[in-house]
Amino acid sequence: MKVLVGVKRVLDPQVKARVKADKSGIDLTNAKMTMNPFCENAVEEAIRLREAGTVEEVVALSIGAAKSEETLRNALALGADRAILVLTDDVLEPLAIAKIIKAMVEKENPDLVLVGKQAIDDECNQTGQMVSALLGWPQATFASKLEIVDGTAQVTREVDSGLETINVNMPAVISADLRLNEPRYASLPNVMKAKRKPLEKIDISDLGLDTANRMTTLEVMEPPARASGVMVENVAELVEKLRNEAKVI
């Protein structure tokens, strides 16, 4: 079996996003960037499947600017066998990303596509579902457990009411939630080795796809600030304030 994993380069989750003064977007100049945390879970799962002997090859795919090579090198250091970078300087919507991933699936013929459940920058939570729709494959989103049995994937999904289990045919698209696994760290020797692993670059224009965005961002604003609160001395004062000032109990 072969797995294709989608990895996105995003602003580090520990860094507070700053809105640009001209409201055109988020200021990413010199900001610390990293692999989207949910993609780390997707990569980890792929590597574990290979370590278990279920999978022979793990291919990491990123779509983005040249700097996304760093994110792919990270995936290679974690254990991916090769990487593909589809180069574009545009910030594409999930529909366009899904069309590109579909094109790469047609080129690579994987049995499984793993993605993160959501990118922590755009917070769309769409790409995996869209890839499976375009391929006509089944989907299993928000996975917290994955078992491959008799050529099907048994997936436990994190849903609002608890945990749901579904069984999907393969090939399939699965999106990873944080509890799917605990991602490993790349060791220094593996970081060195990753520099020599194959990384193929494809220019988006060579794919001949319609990747035009359907939405225009008119402005990006700061969220409304909360009025600052007060510190109370003790529980009695807290209860008094909740009863008589906030009137919520």
Binding site: A17, Q126, Q129, V159, G162, N234, L238, L242
Partner: protein, 309 residues
């Protein structure tokens, strides 16, 4: 203009999230139809017909919709979408599962988790864990939208008199099978609809200690929530989690106990009307969003609070 809202239900009644989604639809303007899809869901359709502001209820009641598998629900939505300018559903795990699939099949973008309706084609949505709000304009002919329900009031559950019309379900895709669901049993109010929520974090130390919060919750008629750290440590089930990866809630009162206030946690609760934080570390970021902050050891403060109520 006409709008299709995909309802969420448990075969007998309509989930509250749908009532908030109808409000968002009303702000876009146009007739509102509600789709009830499921297996054995005609009672839910009757409940849906009572919802204020609904024009027609479309009922797709078929075995292929058992477990509401994304493939089958998306195909059904696609078969109906051509009649509508907008298709909306709540940004719950149900809505987030099938809606992007339907969007891709229709070759349109999905507008995720809108928090405000500016006009029929322009919406505001939070990005970067709520650290920024993006105003976006869609050029797609059909707008597929998921709605952040905490940002819209609920319409009345009654007062409407919609007609119910059966629609054909689509054939089972055969791609996936529903195996089962395990919900954590709780007699308390549901987290997303509770007026008061008390949540515990890593500071609670273990699951046993959550009984302290449950006791307070019972007195206040509150739901119990948790941070990701508390869920990951196995103190409470995953569906207790509040935040970017869990539930987004906005109760009248949110009490955070032993929670530091990481941005991903704040993303799920900072729209609450009144926020209380109890934490022994006066520097904890949770105090920056708290209306009332108490620097104290929770093992002293929570039993005291319980007694004072």
């Amino acid at each position: 203009m006409s709008i299709l809202v995909i309802a969420e239900h448990d075969n007998a009644s309509i989930v509250g999230a749908t009532l908030h989604t109808v409000t968002a639809a009303q702000q876009m303007g146009g007739d509102i139809d509600l789709l009830i899809a499921g297996n054995g869901c005609s009672v839910a359709a009757q409940a849906a017909a009572q919802i204020s502001g609904v024009n027609r209820v479309l009922l797709a009641d078929d075995i292929s919709l058992e477990g509401l598998l994304a493939e089958n629900v998306a195909n059904l939505v696609v078969s109906l979408a051509g009649n509508y300018s907008h298709v909306l559903t709540a940004a719950t795990t149900f809505g987030k599962n099938f809606m992007p699939r339907a969007a891709a099949l229709l070759d349109v973008s999905q507008i995720s988790e809108i928090s405000e309706v500016i006009s029929a084609d322009t919406f505001v949505r939070p990005v970067y864990a709520g650290n920024a709000m993006a105003k976006v304009q869609s050029s797609d002919s059909i707008k597929l939208i998921t709605v952040r329900i905490t940002k819209f009031d609920a319409v009345a559950e009654t007062g409407g008199s919609a007609t119910i019309e059966a629609v054909d379900a689509v054939a089972d895709s055969g791609l996936s099978r529903f195996v089962g669901v395990s919900s954590s049993e709780s007699e308390r109010v549901e987290l997303t609809s509770a007026a008061i929520v008390i949540s515990g974090g890593r500071g609670m130390q273990n699951g046993e200690n959550f009984h302290m919060l449950e006791s307070v919750a019972d007195k206040l008629g509150a739901a119990v929530g948790a941070s990701r750290a508390a869920v990951d440590a196995g103190f409470v089930p995953n569906d207790y989690q509040v935040g970017q990866t869990g539930k987004v809630i906005a109760p009248e009162l949110y009490i955070a106990v032993g929670i530091s206030g990481a941005i991903q946690h704040l993303a799920g609760m900072k729209d609450s009307k009144t926020i209380v934080a109890i934490n022994k570390d006066s520097e904890a970021p949770i105090f920056q969003v708290a209306d009332y902050g108490l620097v104290a050891d929770l093992f002293v403060a929570v039993p005291e609070l319980d007694k004072a109520l």
